[in-house]
Amino acid sequence: MSRTLLVRLSAVLIVLAGAWVAYTQAPPQGKDGKQAKQPNNTINKVAEDLYVIIGDGGNSSVYVTNQGVILVDDKFEYDGQDIVDKVKSVTNQPIKYVLNTHLHGDHTGSNERFLPTAEIIATKNARDNMVKNKAPGVMRVVFTDETDIFLGGKEVRMKYYGRGHTNGDAVVYFPALRILASGDIGANNGPNVDYANGGSMKEWGATLDGVLKLDFDTVIPGHGPVSKRQYLIDYRDVATKLPATVISMVREGKSKDDIAKVFTTNGGLWANPNVVNKLDQIMAELKN
């Protein structure tokens, strides 16, 4: 075999192998339409020692302490290395805790990578849902109502306030910074009820009422840009009015199309394809 042929053959094989890897490693289709196989994230400073990694999947919060890093949510599996790199760009401290706001793969995708060296914590319901869905990277430690992490003289509080996006959404509160990571009960693409995992349109508003009792100024939503407290107040108002509107329109005998039209014309968080597409399920829940 000539040397040229060998080089060409090798090149072909490498390309084929690359294609095969790309094919087999293709990430699951994100609900939010992110299809990137290459991580595409930026890290932004939110406050002293608190950063957010925005891009693929859900937002990751990074809280740096002198005894290690507390990470909130870890995006998709293919974002794992990029998360580690982004954290390394701001601190030498290792990631000691990963707090999952809920079960979905765009928030728990890198759990497997962190499980051997970090404690991963979620609500008991989030874990039960992951086990039921055979999701990888199931955590060892769960809680039902509240858990607090004390690391390097800093405190992070993780709380469950009730159903909404799923039946296992936790919010993560940084008391010293007056900042809240809301997870997807405050995702900026509007309320998306995951009925298969215990979500509820009916209870979502009350859940956010509980969350709003916390004293914070800044919100890191599950998806979308860092916002002010008012963002979550508005969100709560939509989550409260939306089911009430659906119930009254159903009682008035309005058609599904009419109801859908109300959402789209209202705009903002109302004009959410997730709501319109799930109108049958939402109506079924609200009838009970």
Binding site: E119, I121, K124, R127, V138, M139, R140, V141, V142, F143, T144, D145, E146, T147, D148, I149, F150, L151
Partner: protein, 286 residues
């Protein structure tokens, strides 16, 4: 400095250091030994109990590590590790503290670098207030579960009693419950400075009795059955009702002290009396 002098000086400092440690770490329980004295008992399958100094330790072995409930005094650490190593090569991964007292959290400092220690939020608060070493990094308010090597351990807070931060640890697959000091001895030690309550103690035990278990590892004393918890609970209520009755009859402090001493075994020099008596009178007068 001669070598002999260095050795002697070192020995002196070592002795002083030990004496200081022994003084500041002075155990609060009945056990005053500085040399560890414990026995490892098998309860069932992969669950063991270490009884002797301080509070009872539960040892749950899994294929991914050991879950330990309570860790006695600081000077018991090496003995706890030796006992665990006698039954498994697995490392200790989790230490669950039933409450803040040093006879249940004394070895925390040794475990903290390599294990996750978990307690209630109130228990940690009490440890911080008492400037105790080895405060856990992870706390919970209502329930936390640890899943390790295919096994599950459930840690629950049922309300006030011995302190305001007592958790019980439940091993569902083994139908076994570690009660912490919510069941210990025959009559309650109510630590009012740690948020304890005689009034709420029985209701706390009622909550725990809803769990489905047969075997009970008390905070101190021999392993018992679920029925023993009911006996203990009824004794707690009997004490509460009797003292409440005496207070209503305007009995003197001394008269009441004599009753709790004679009928409930509260020695005037003991912790039950010293930590619980006046607080109990104040609580029950309300």
């Amino acid at each position: 400095m001669s070598r002999a002098l260095v050795v002697r000086l070192s020995a002196t400092f070592l002795a002083l250091g030990c004496a200081w440690v022994a003084y500041t770490q002075a155990p609060q329980g009945k056990q005053q030994t500085k040399q560890a004295s414990n026995k490892l008992n098998k309860i069932t399958d992969d669950l063991y109990e270490i009884e002797g100094d301080g509070g009872n330790v539960a040892v749950y072995i899994t294929s991914e590590g050991v879950i330990v409930v309570d860790d006695k005094f600081e000077y018991d650490f090496n003995d706890i590790m030796a006992k665990i190593k006698s039954v498994t090569t697995q490392p200790v991964k989790y230490v669950l503290n039933t409450h803040h007292h040093a006879d249940h959290t004394g070895s925390n400092e040794h475990f903290l670098p390599t294990a996750e220690i978990i307690s209630t939020a109130n228990a940690r608060k009490n440890m911080i207030e008492g400037k105790q070493p080895g405060a856990p990094r992870v706390v919970f308010t209502d329930e936390t579960d640890v899943y390790l090597g295919g096994k599950q351990v459930q840690m629950k807070y049922f309300g006030r009693g011995h302190t305001n931060g007592d958790a019980m640890v439940y091993f569902p697959a083994l139908r076994t419950l570690h009660t912490g000091d919510l069941v210990a001895g025959t009559s309650p030690l109510i630590d009012y400075s740690g948020g304890g309550s005689l009034k709420e103690w029985a209701a706390t035990l009622d909550g725990a009795m809803k769990l489905d278990f047969d075997t009970m590892i008390p905070g101190h004393g021999p392993v018992g059955r679920k029925a023993d918890m009911l006996t203990y609970r009824n004794n707690v209520e009997k004490l509460r009702m009797e003292v409440t009755g005496m207070l209503r009859q305007n009995k003197s402090r001394d008269d009441i002290a004599k009753v709790v001493q004679d009928k409930y075994g509260w020695a005037p020099t003991g912790l039950q009396f010293q930590r619980g008596f006046d607080g109990m009178l104040a609580e029950l007068k309300r």
